[in-house]
């Protein structure tokens, strides 16, 4: 069953002077943890700010069915935002900061204080919550930023580079928190990052942005097989992969022996792996495993970005030729 989109953007454009930050972004985004991927300067943070109604834009964007252009305040009641940069007010403890954040989001004072404690417990800052936020380490500051974003019970959380500056242990803990949040708190998460490992680990959906436009939108599984059908397989055999490779070559299938007992084979996607089984039986090779060869998120990402760069170069060359 297709999930109902929580965010719909249609031809969203935003520019800062001559810089085109968003150039007609169009996507329907659904899922529990959505990775918003892109290199630095791709327009991820600008898109998040547009969705929060913080900056004006052209085009149409809705979050939870509300227009980002006109209902920004109503969206920000139901959405939490953890920005990339610091946002911690000095001279306040974490619990004061979170309670203040909740009150600004409309919670009554007593409820705000209770939920501030709960959010800080949730973020793992139970023992440090009375200390001034100025004295926190980078990891602790990231946790406070997360707590202040979720203290008012948002239905969607926008997390902008939440693992930036964290050591591996703190990063793993932050990702653990993020991955458990939809189940525990019932909120969807939009995780904006350029760290592909983070997306691979926690996200079920991915949106790839490059140069202010969406280049891919779909599930992470779809992202990893965007080559167009499953045609590459990694095959393990009991012994002597070279013999089986020779049989495959004879049958016209491209292959590469990667170890004495493994090889990579490209088959006709219309036929699929059945061809492999038939050839193995004929050649007397005993197959141990046949796995679809899929991209890592990183490889898929690089391929999509690379293709976008090639297109841009081709267009530029075409324009140059036309001008000449």
């Amino acid at each position: 069953m297709a999930l109902e989109p929580i965010i719909v953007v249609d031809n969203v454009r935003r520019h800062f002077g001559a810089i085109k930050a968003l150039q007609g972004v169009t996507a329907e985004i659904s899922g529990k943890i959505i990775g918003l991927l892109g290199p630095n300067g791709a327009g991820k943070s600008t898109l998040l700010k547009c969705l929060l109604g913080l900056v004006p834009f052209e085009g149409r964007a809705t979050v939870l069915g509300m227009s980002a252009a006109t209902d920004g305040a109503a969206i920000r009641v139901r959405v939490g935002y953890m920005p990339e940069q610091d946002l911690l007010l000095p001279n306040m403890s974490a619990v004061e900061l979170c309670a203040y954040a909740a009150e600004l989001s409309g919670l009554p004072r007593s409820e705000a204080v209770q939920r501030a404690h709960a959010a800080l417990y949730y973020a793992g800052l139970e023992e440090k919550r009375y200390q001034p936020v100025d004295t926190y380490s980078t990891g602790q500051k990231q946790r406070v930023k997360l707590a202040q974003a979720l203290v008012h019970d948002p239905e969607i959380l926008f997390l902008d580079e939440p693992t930036n500056g964290l050591d591996p242990k703190a990063r793993a803990e932050m990702l653990e928190l993020i991955s458990e949040m939809p189940g525990r708190r019932g909120c969807a998460i939009v995780l904006s990052t350029h760290l592909l490992g983070d997306v691979e680990r926690v996200c079920d959906q991915a949106v790839i942005m490059h140069r202010g436009a969406v280049k891919f939108s779909g599930t992470v599984a779809e992202l990893r097989q965007t080559r167009g059908g499953d045609s590459e397989y990694t095959v393990s055999v009991r012994d002597n992969a070279h013999d089986f490779a020779a049989a495959l070559t004879q049958a016209g299938l491209a292959n590469e022996v990667t170890s004495p007992v493994a090889l990579r084979v490209t088959v006709d996607p219309a036929i699929g792996p059945r061809q492999l089984f038939a050839l193995a039986a004929a050649a007397g090779a005993q197959l141990r495993s046949v796995e679809v060869q899929r991209d890592t998120v990183e490889a898929a990402f690089l391929r999509i970005i690379g293709a976008a760069n090639d297109d841009a170069t081709a267009q530029a060359n075409q324009a140059k030729a036309g001008a000449a």
Partner: protein, 312 residues
């Protein structure tokens, strides 16, 4: 269901509970009513007051200074309540020394107000810009008007404690020192005059530093700008006004406040600073309040529309 038995000896220690462990604490989504958006400024005002109260140097020091001024002036008023203030009388004032204490004390309360502007007022918006506070506020359903109003109201309340409570206390003491009922009735307007003078001072010393705090992205730069404008530019205006006998001195904030106060109390002061006519003093105070709030509004609204809290 029990776990299947294995004969594998564990080689690694059992996993410990990470610090990222989830604490549910009976979590339930909040379904109650939310406070109206129009009340957000009160939350900001309360926070402004509570953060100003923290530490000894932010609000407590200028407030303590104002308290000392009140106590000293009150003691002097008590001691000299039945003596003529010869220095003023010799200039044709015919004013009791104790009557002059209330307006004269305003010059000192203005200094306490300036101290508060240095410890808190002139760095409010710059501090938020520096620490990412704009993002904190505007990623929530907070409008620029709520922010400016809340910050201004918080500063105004704190400044009122410094610049209005003291004069009111002294005015009340002066009423208490009245020797006859008719004198008491005659002196009643002193309360109103002290309140007006204190309120004007509080408005000026809340709004103008707030405006200066909007001119910089760093706290120290904003403080330097405000201190420079107040001490140097203000003194220059006052000096030129005194030398040329023009109302230019009204552009000096303490001169504007003291002039207004002296006019309210019918005191003619010929001191080191210029005394400007009442309309100029009122005009300058109103102009500074409008400029201060206008600058704050311009900065906050501009920051919000161009992408809060960082590079767009």
């Amino acid at each position: 269901m029990s776990a299947p038995e294995t004969n594998i000896t564990p080689t690694a220690p059992a996993p410990t509970r990470s610090t990222a462990a989830i604490y549910d604490l009976g979590y339930k989504r909040y379904v109650g009513n939310r406070v109206a958006a129009s009340a957000r400024w009160r939350v900001i005002m309360r926070n402004q007051l509570s953060t100003a109260w923290k530490g000894w140097w932010r609000l407590k020091f200028p407030l303590g200074t104002a308290l000392m001024i009140s106590l000293v002036a009150g003691a002097v008023m008590y001691v000299s309540s039945n003596k003529l203030f010869n220095a003023i009388a010799s200039k044709g004032m015919g004013l009791k020394f104790s009557d002059g204490i209330v307006p004269f004390s305003m010059t000192f309360f203005a200094r306490a107000g300036f101290i508060f502007s240095l410890t808190v007022g002139a760095s409010v918006i710059a501090s938020d810009a520096q620490s990412g506070g704009f993002t904190f506020y505007f990623a929530r359903p907070v409008r620029p008007i709520d922010y400016v109003l809340g910050k201004f109201a918080g500063l105004l309340l704190a400044t009122s404690l410094i610049m209005m409570a003291g004069p009111l206390f002294l005015a009340a003491e002066r009423l208490g020192l009245a020797e006859t009922t008719s004198e008491l009735i005659d002196l009643l307007p002193v309360l109103g005059k002290a309140a007006i003078a204190g309120l004007a001072g509080a408005l000026l010393y809340a709004a103008l530093p707030l405006g200066f705090s909007a001119l910089a992205n760093k706290r120290r730069t904003a403080l330097a700008l405000w201190a420079g404008a107040y001490l140097i530019a203000g003194s220059i205006c006052s000096g030129i006004g005194l030398l040329t006998n023009t109302p230019l001195g009204a552009l000096d904030p303490p001169t504007a406040i003291t002039s207004l106060t002296f006019h309210l109390f019918d005191v003619e002061w010929k001191g080191r600073s210029a005394m400007v006519p009442m309309p100029y003093a009122i005009g300058a105070i109103l102009m500074y309040v409008v400029i201060g709030l206008g600058l704050a509004w311009w900065r906050v609204n501009n920051s919000r529309s161009t992408g809060v809290g960082g590079a767009p």
